[in-house]
């Protein structure tokens, strides 16, 4: 069973691609350990024969016709880009 003490904010922040200051790391470590400790009460519940629910109202296989329609123009799609050029998003260099 997972324990609140296994929780390492620094490691999780790397997974989340989210830099944290040292102060935030210390603060979240304590606050979220408290939340995890509070949530240990879930371990009391008998869950044999219970299926996980993803949605409150069960729905299956939602289909619709695949019809062409007008959608965003490239100007609209690019209108909020932090960096763009020649009708393209400019991204940070990925390969050397």
């Amino acid at each position: 069973m997972a324990k609140a003490s296994d929780f390492d904010v620094g490691y999780v922040a790397k997974l989340a691609r989210l830099n944290l200051s040292d102060e935030e790391t210390r603060l979240f470590q304590k606050q979220l350990a408290d939340v995890l400790k509070y949530a240990e009460k879930l371990n009391e519940v008998d869950l044999s024969n219970v299926e996980a629910t993803a949605h409150g109202v069960p729905m299956f296989n939602v289909f619709r016709e695949d019809e062409p329609c007008d959608w965003f123009t490239s100007e609209q799609a690019l209108s909020n880009a932090p960096h763009k050029s020649n009708q393209l998003f400019i991204v940070t260099k990925v390969v050397e």
Binding site: V12, A16, R17, E24, L32, Y38, E51, H55, G56, N80
Partner: protein, 485 residues
């Protein structure tokens, strides 16, 4: 000509003046603008207002439509083409919507004019609107207190007559709780009743758009205009949308109302308890039958909610990567530095805290222990309600365990803030509908602070909770009280 009497009207009354050509849509907007200019500096309920666009819409609006000529305020995570959509976040500080959410298309088709965007907790994460990266909104009943949240700007504006009605979103109580703390009506529709297309996602299996309004009738009118199947949202339900105003005025004879034993928990403000008990007596006197019942898994709601909501949020907020829209950190040295600093600099503290928790409960080795376990307990919470609704038509509780708290009082303790959702978030987990209706005032240090009554209904049974809420409301004067601004 500005008419200072107009902003206090309900949507139903305003619309009948408009339809009867007693006032024009332009006069309505002028009166609203004057009211906002006078009151907004005290409240800070709005993030942006576009009266120029609104006056243009007013010129050609058809006043014979159900909401024809009625200005509506919109929580700032719902896209209105051409207007900002900041989600209360620095990371979307310069964002401008390129398209309309389906709810906006539908409200416009019903004649409403979406004229301004209201303040909120960043990405709807919070119960006080203090997590906005822009400003703190104040409660119209006591300016030193929070309006509730996350739809706090919408609630404050409706309470202060700086909006006739407003849209909010509710993931764990974010419409009902601010409605309760600000003294207005707020509905969370059943999951799937209203399209989420064009609404910035927080927790996709819990989020619903709903109205904040001065009366139950007004809330029913807005819901009627918004609800229904949308081809852009595969979770929206095709069930026909009834006329929610049709049952208003029917009495409560034969209506069975459940009072759950588990909702009598420690920590409820005594003035809230006594107001809700008085409301239950009042409902009984209107003909309803009170049934005491059990919702045995209630106590697990907060823990389940914070695992599921943060897990879904951590996935939904992965899209804020500084590439296609939003803030981007300057001169990143490589891609990881780009992501890490963009998100560090763009997100506020509560959002970061929830991304960390959500990423953790989904991470390898912990997924089954936290996330899957929470989804299973969620199923038990859903069954609790399904069993209860075999015996009753609706369930009664307080909306919030206490009236509005002071600005700054809770921000240091996230867990205490999370417990503010104790009566509301199980409805989101179970997919049922719920409404908060004003049911009295608490006297705290010379202030009159509103108290809300929550009425929970079966999935897709909004018509029933509107009927009950309306019958209660019309037998009391709480909804007529106005803050002294």
């Amino acid at each position: 000509m500005s008419r200072p009497d107009l902003p206090a009207l309900t949507i139903a009354d305003l619309q009948s003046l408009l339809r009867g050509r007693k006032v024009s849509p332009r006069e309505v907007l002028e009166s609203l603008r004057a009211r906002i200019e006078q009151i907004e500096p005290k409240l800070d309920a709005y993030l942006s207002i576009d009266f120029d666009a609104a006056f243009q819409e007013a010129e050609k609006v058809d006043v014979t439509l159900p909401l024809g000529g009625v200005p509506i305020a919109v929580k700032d995570l719902i896209n209105v083409a051409g207007q900002p959509c900041t989600c209360g976040s620095k990371i979307l500080g310069n964002y401008r919507s390129t398209y309309n959410a389906t709810v906006i298309e539908k409200l416009r088709a019903a004649g409403a004019i979406p004229f301004g965007k209201t303040n909120m907790d960043e990405f709807a994460m919070g119960s006080s609107t203090e997590n906005s990266s822009v400003k703190v909104t104040r409660n119209p009943w006591d300016l030193s207190r929070v309006p509730g949240g996350s739809s706090g700007g919408s609630a404050a504006a409706v309470a202060a007559d700086t909006a006739f009605g407003a849209l909010g979103t509710d993931t764990g109580g974010s419409i009902r709780q601010p409605a309760s703390l600000s003294g207005v009506v707020g509905l969370k529709p059943s999951y799937g009743r209203v399209s989420r297309f064009g609404v910035t996602a927080f927790a996709s299996s819990l989020d619903q758009v709903g109205p904040l309004a001065k009366t139950v009738r007004d809330a029913a009118m807005i819901t009627k205009a918004m609800a229904g199947r949308d081809r852009h949202d595969s979770t929206s339900l095709a069930d026909p949308v009834p006329d929610y105003t049709a049952n208003l005025g029917h009495d409560l004879k034969g209506v069975r109302l459940g009072v759950p034993k588990e909702y009598r928990v420690e920590g409820i403000d005594p003035q809230v308890s006594s107001a809700v008990n008085a409301a239950i007596k009042q409902l009984e006197s209107l003909g309803a039958e009170i049934v005491h019942l059990n919702l045995p898994h209630t106590d697990y709601g907060i823990a389940v909610y914070y695992f599921i909501a943060t897990a879904e949020a951590s996935a939904n907020l992965a899209r804020f990567d500084g590439v296609r829209y939003g803030y981007r950190a300057s001169s990143p040295k490589d891609l990881l530095d780009h992501y890490g600093r963009t998100r560090e600099e763009g997100f506020g503290e509560e959002v970061k805290r929830r991304i960390i928790l959500g990423t953790y409960v989904l991470s390898s080795g912990y997924y089954d222990a936290y996330y899957v376990r929470a989804q299973k307990v969620r199923e038990l919470i859903r069954r609790d309600f399904a069993t209860a609704f075999e015996k009753v038509d609706a369930i009664i509780s307080p909306t919030s365990p206490e009236p509005a708290f002071k600005i700054g009082e809770r921000t240091a303790n996230p867990l205490a803030m999370y417990l503010a959702d104790i009566f509301t978030n199980t409805a989101n987990l179970a997919g049922i509908c719920g409404i908060s209706v004003p049911c009295g005032f608490a006297k705290v240090n010379g202030s009159q602070l509103p108290i809300g009554l929550q009425i929970l209904g079966k999935p897709l049974d909004e018509a029933r909770i509107f009927q009950i809420g309306h019958a209660y409301e019309q037998s009391t004067d709480w909804h007529k009280a106005k803050p002294n601004l």
